[in-house]
Subunit: 195 residues, 3 copies
């Protein structure tokens, strides 16, 4: 084999590798990085829920809107661990623990208590952002066994900066005061990002 032939073959090899690696990624289009172990985006927020209890109309950010036959919409059902209470909320989102920090967005949607033996809820809500930092929304759904230190719900979609996002959000009750105030830490881990 001549030196020329060898060089030619080397070039072809290099060209082919380059070309085909590019083709492969192109097939997958929008740069999606997928790994269970490394989220493609991670964000930590806090949101603050102040439940209407008949006396705090001004400050309340949420209200009971559904109750079972044995309950009412002013006070969480005393028996059965609030089973059947449905709460609508519009809660401020902050970057730190402080309720009075400037909100970076709103957590909007509902939760309901769905267990007679322990405190367990089911959540359907969105984080809605409209700041210079984030524009768009992240949509969540899932079961929240709230007596556990941490629990995971699903990120089921997103819009704007979070277009087509999917992932998991780890919730942690960061603080609570009786049945009026609670603060949730939300660790949003996106595993599908569309850029």
């Amino acid at each position: 084999m001549t030196k020329l032939t060898r060089n030619l073959i080397s070039s072809i090899v290099f060209f082919l590798i380059s070309l085909l690696l590019v083709s492969c990624s192109a097939t997958n289009a929008t740069s999606r990085i997928r790994s269970r172990h490394r989220p493609c985006k991670r964000l930590v927020f806090y949101f603050h829920d102040i439940l209407y209890n008949g006396h705090n109309a001004r400050n309340a950010t949420s209200a009971i809107v559904g109750a079972p036959a044995w309950g009412n919409t002013t006070i969480l059902a005393g028996q059965n661990h609030h089973f059947g209470n449905v709460v609508v909320f519009d809660d401020p989102i902050t970057l730190d623990h402080n309720l009075h920090s400037t909100p970076v967005g709103r957590a909007q949607g509902f939760y309901l208590y769905d267990n007679k033996e322990i405190f367990t809820s089911w959540l359907g809500f969105s984080f809605v952002f409209n700041s210079t930092q984030h524009k768009g929304s992240i949509n969540f759904a899932g079961a929240d066994p709230l007596m556990n230190k941490t629990r995971d719900i699903s990120v089921i979609g997103g819009t704007g900066d979070f277009f087509m996002s999917r992932g998991v959000a780890t919730l942690m009750t960061d603080a609570f005061e009786g049945e009026v105030y609670f603060r949730l830490r939300v660790d949003v881990k996106l595993y599908e990002c569309w850029s």
Copy 2:
């Protein structure tokens, strides 16, 4: 290098490129075209909501089913921008603006008002089709800041013709009459299609 060698190498190059491009797409199986800029399917529909108000039982397609302590289920809560009202609906879907056009499906699910300062809602619903044109369902969830001209919610899944769909739906209030009737234009853009 002989002419034969050169020809052989050319053939190999061509064969390799073909083979490997095919392999790459095959890895991705079901023909999914993914691009943020070009939906794989796009559909525009209108749906029409006539809210029960105590006097229109026959025509109403939706009803208030949840209300905060300061409200009731006959009339949307006058204060706080309907905060806490939950509405269940079964609305006709049409291909044009006309409420009386032959429906092509039903929009079924719920919305709730979740903001005390402005009109904002949260939606969980499905488009249900059972015609020669479309069979199956598209499932939606997300926040709807309804005073904005357009707003995006998530397509979180689908069945039948819309099997495993994901995407974004752009909502636009096309018309409304007081608190009894509204018509939403829904521009469904799917970015994940399974064929």
Copy 3:
């Protein structure tokens, strides 16, 4: 062309094919098998719903928590096919038909009746598992035209063993007794699995 050249070219061809096939799959990272015709995971469960009716507080696993103006939360609305009734549930999941089999998890969330002409509902709920067999949750949403023998809803996400799952669940009413008890067979077919 010498024999050496021919051998060299053969080796290169083989090396390239191997290398690039590996590259292609690596781009797709986590072993996702995608085919409309073959789910990557399939699970069949039953869940059992006993609706509170004013007399069965002990056994009830669900309760009416929302009703239209013409209804109440003790009895499903007699007219309009329960339109507007919202039910919160925490139902045992079993592997067979028997209500008294050891539950393998809980089905938690809500359903609402959303059609005046026929029985149709909309569901948002989770399967929550915490056994040696399964840990984690599967989240569901979708329309359930419950008079059909089978109907499909969406698997919109999952956590734990079902991390990032998507798919379709086929529901079948396996049994019902008046308006107090029903048993649903749920055939969960996941088409996106992250291992």
